[in-house]
């Protein structure tokens, strides 16, 4: 057991597969959830998995540079800004429609 722990090597796949799983969860959640906040959470999941991808690629493939890390920092800030705007819009929509279910936002179609 101790031997196994000593020889344990971090592998980029150990991070990439969870990250891809996170992204797929986000897509699934975005397509199936009907509550706008839940959809927003799914979107955050997708954006975070992208950030994780960048960090993992940077750490394992080009450890000498910091490009991926910097991209991640900016991406986190952008995701925060996106969420703020989206939440503001959802609150306004709630005030006028009294619900945050996307099924109610179907006045304009086809």
């Amino acid at each position: 057991m101790l031997d196994l722990l000593n020889n344990f090597q971090l592998n980029s796949l150990m991070f990439l597969i969870p990250s891809l799983f996170m992204f797929c969860c986000g897509v699934y959640g975005f397509l199936t959830r009907r509550n706008m906040i839940a959809m927003l959470i799914s979107l955050e999941l997708m954006l975070n998995s992208v950030d994780m991808n960048f960090v993992v690629f940077n750490r394992f493939l080009c450890p000498g540079e910091m490009e991926g890390m910097f991209f991640t920092l900016f991406a986190i800030a952008i995701a925060a800004a996106e969420t703020a705007v989206a939440i503001a819009i959802i609150i306004n929509a709630y005030r006028i429609a009294k619900d945050i279910d996307v099924k109610d936002l179907t006045k304009m179609k086809f």
């Binding site: 991808n53 960048f54 690629f57 540079e65 490009e67 991209f71 991406a75 503001a88 929509a93 304009m108």
Partner: protein, 489 residues
């Protein structure tokens, strides 16, 4: 650090100065109480913004960029072509600003019109960064700076339900598309180890299947913003629900800037080994975009929704300039965007002045418009003719040049593509003429009474109609664009 690098960013700095002046004026200017409410509004901000932006637009044409410059470690680049694209966008934004003055003077809007102008200027700044970026970090920042404030602008009609529905649809699809786009970028980074456009092109090896997947994600992400067909579903709803000024901004400026950025990404990043792959993808997208956009436009009865589908199909025509990927099709694409700005904004100018007066946007209420408002009907007719591409007007020449540029490639596939585009032009003629028929031939009593449109609305219409007529006749414009793209220095 070498601060003289900032001299390459003359246009960005000019725009930032305009933005800051408008912002400071909004902060410190005298306010007056709006009649019939307890709120206060800033005096004269519309005029100030339009005048400042007009001065800046003129400055943009005279500030020389000189040679191609690559500054900030190769992140930002500017060339005469890029500067010209920015100038074309400036002209469009100036017209949109003039058109929106009347709407901004209306009752609930007057208290927050300054914010509207500020948001609009900052989105334009984002588009500048997007066009000039030569590194994906700057590109993403520009893309988000261009699309996030737009979501707030779509939701600007606070009392109207449709505006909020449109904003929710816009922000959720925009976030989804940028997540897809960034996933593609992360794959590109993993495969090449860099995010600089030129270094990705150097590092990418031939025939990597994973890079094609990454490229497809990147294309899908930008395709959302351009509303190419499989990704166009948000377009009609957002265009219908948004305030008309924002709709015209979305359909013209946002689309033109993104089309150019799309071309830069495709040609510079994936142009070397993967041009065959993305050209075939784009080939399919163009056929779908033009056809589906046209077919859906036929059955629309709401003018804004109708123009939304028309702008979907116009995006397909703009993409013909990208797929050609030579000097001539680049010039043709710039000319197409310029002409599209004038024609579409003329149509939106008419819609907006009628909506400001009566609140009607249905195509049925335009029946017999030529009898009550002959000048507005005339402007609308010219816009429709130009969008459809009927000969003496600018739209014909822009379509002609963009088809010629695509045909210059010389392959059979390209001939087939142009043939499909031509057939679709005839289909589009049908639905553009439906509007003209409703205005001129239908002899019912018109719902819209004769009215005198405001000075600002008239000014915008004169500029756009002048553009539609003159750009077709005065060949200097296209020739100078062609000279510019042939001599990139």
């Amino acid at each position: 650090m070498d601060y003289s690098q900032f001299l390459a960013m003359k246009q960005e700095i000019g725009l930032l100065v305009v933005f800051l002046l408008v912002f400071l004026y909004d902060l410190f200017a005298p306010r007056y109480a709006v009649a019939g409410s307890d709120k206060k509004a800033v005096k004269g901000i519309s005029t100030i913004t339009v005048v400042l932006f007009a001065l800046y637009t003129v400055y943009g044409f005279f500030c020389t960029v000189g040679d191609a410059q690559l500054v900030f470690g190769g992140m930002y680049s500017t060339t005469p072509v890029v500067a010209t694209i920015k100038n074309i966008l400036n002209v469009g934004v100036l017209i949109v600003l003039i058109q929106s003055m009347q709407w901004n003077a209306s009752e609930p809007q007057i208290m927050r019109r300054a914010e509207f102008y500020e948001l609009m200027l900052i989105t334009l700044f984002g588009m500048y960064l997007m066009i000039s970026a030569r590194h994906f970090l700057l590109f993403v920042i520009g893309l988000e700076a261009a699309s996030l404030p737009l979501a707030a602008m779509v939701a600007f009609d606070k009392n109207k339900y449709e505006s909020h529905e449109a904003a929710v649809k816009y922000i959720l699809t925009a976030l989804f598309s940028s997540a897809i786009f960034m996933l593609g970028l992360s794959f590109v980074y993993g495969l090449t180890g860099t995010l600089y456009f030129d270094k990705i092109a150097e590092a990418s090896v031939e025939g990597s299947g994973m890079l094609i997947v990454a490229m497809a994600f990147v294309m899908a992400g930008i395709g959302f913003k351009l509303s190419l067909v499989p990704f166009h579903l948000w377009t009609a709803d957002v265009y219908q629900g948004a305030p008309t000024s924002v709709t015209s901004y979305l359909s013209v400026i946002s689309k033109g800037a993104t089309a150019f950025a799309f071309m830069v990404v495709m040609v510079q990043v994936f142009g070397q080994f993967y041009s065959a792959a993305w050209e075939w993808m784009l080939y399919g997208l163009i056929i779908l975009t033009i056809t589906v956009g046209n077919l859906f436009a036929i059955r629309q009865r709401n003018m804004k929704r109708f123009l939304a589908f028309s702008s979907v199909s116009q995006a397909g025509y703009i993409m013909l300039g990208v797929i050609g990927a030579n000097d001539m099709s680049l010039a043709a694409m710039m000319f197409y965007i310029l002409v599209y700005i004038f024609s579409n904004l003329a149509a939106f100018g008419v819609i907006q002045s009628i909506e400001n007066k009566t609140g009607l946007v249905g195509m049925d209420s335009y029946r017999g418009l030529s009898k009550t408002n002959p000048r507005l009907a005339f402007a609308m007719m010219l816009a429709m003719f130009s969008l459809a591409g009927i000969p003496p007007f600018a739209g014909f020449f822009s379509k002609f040049f963009i088809f010629t540029g695509a045909l210059n490639v010389g392959t059979t596939a390209m001939y087939v593509l142009v043939l499909i585009a031509l057939i679709n032009t005839i289909v589009s003629l049908y639905y553009y003429l439906l509007v003209v028929k409703a205005m001129y031939i239908s002899d019912e009593e018109c719902e819209i009474a004769t009215f005198k449109s405001k000075c600002s609305e008239r000014l915008a219409l004169v500029i756009t109609v002048g553009g539609i007529i003159l750009l077709g006749i005065v060949s200097v414009v296209y020739n100078s664009l062609l000279v510019l793209t042939e001599n990139p220095v």
